[in-house]
Symmetry: C2
Subunit: 220 residues, 2 copies
Amino acid sequence: MTQRIPVVERILSANDELAEENKSRLNAANVFAVNLMASPGAGKTSLIEQTLPRLAEKLRVAVVDGDIATSIDADRAAAAGAIVAVQVNTGGECHLDAVMLHQALGQIELATVDMLLVENVGNLVCPAEFRLGTHKSVLIASIPEGDDKPYKYPGMYRGVDALVINKIDLLPYINFKMDYFQRGVEALNPGLVTFPLSCSTGEGLDAWVHWILENVKRKA
Amino acid sequence: MTQRIPVVERILSANDELAEENKSRLNAANVFAVNLMASPGAGKTSLIEQTLPRLAEKLRVAVVDGDIATSIDADRAAAAGAIVAVQVNTGGECHLDAVMLHQALGQIELATVDMLLVENVGNLVCPAEFRLGTHKSVLIASIPEGDDKPYKYPGMYRGVDALVINKIDLLPYINFKMDYFQRGVEALNPGLVTFPLSCSTGEGLDAWVHWILENVKRKA
């Protein structure tokens, strides 16, 4: 008789349980939490750098930065005005999971925070499979990545609550068919709220910041 | 007594064994094989599209395209002149492994092929951990991804035999410090052969094609 060892299922279910616990802690402290996901170089850290100063007078924001190595991102988040920036080095892992966020939350005095931005590891595949316990998942696409990404990474596009399309300042230099891109998005995630913007020029950032503030208000 | 179940080690070792078998099959047929890895949108498929016509009169090239879904890439490779293009849909997996390449090789008449280009799933983390049995691993970086990628994805930069830096035509529009990028590369992989190029303008492609031809010649 062969014994079945359902390792993956058990890992996911333990992760989901801890994600629920993370969410309860965030809710108890009235912290609105966002999980930012994207390819390497799509602009997660740049978006955080542009977002924090625009929230500075309204919200106290903590940042958790997931990375395989280095603390480059947490340093940038702290410099941009995060009241605390926790670096999680995953030691080779290609995604954050609920355990890592749980540990990071232990480093943050949640009562002093209104919002938590979690920067996941740069990856369009694995992070989609691990719930963290945040309230919203946001995907950052970018123009230079190309217009076929929704078709090629459907799992990620299907699972998110909002989509940022970064680097629109590069549209004149790149063959990116916005219609084709958006048809792909719409097929996977109908009615998904979308923010075309540029972290270089600042264009489009107001609408994104407005979305955050509305979500925080709804939560309060 | 607790029983230890070293699942990951067993998977990797089984993968490595099959990778050796893949390499033996390629060697027996005198096929030079390259594993192309990169972030989503760095230009793996574009590089294949630009490379194939430049090799057309010298080499018969087969392409294996790994993707989570769709056959967009294999279609493009076939249109660009691959004598056969095999699409491997990984069904959610974030990397190719030796089993998948083994199955793909079963679809190719290796005696009619001089070179095999394997396009891995777009991901800067997981593909680095799974040997396929190819002769060379090539990483494609791209200017819009940013100059900090070697520091943030060291495992990938450490393990490759050559580095393509794509989209150099976008250098005037992006704050990319080539010195900083190359210092990071040099620390991880000293003396790594590097090809700055643009798949849009064609600049720099000759050196890359020359490198392939020299490798094929050395193998023959």
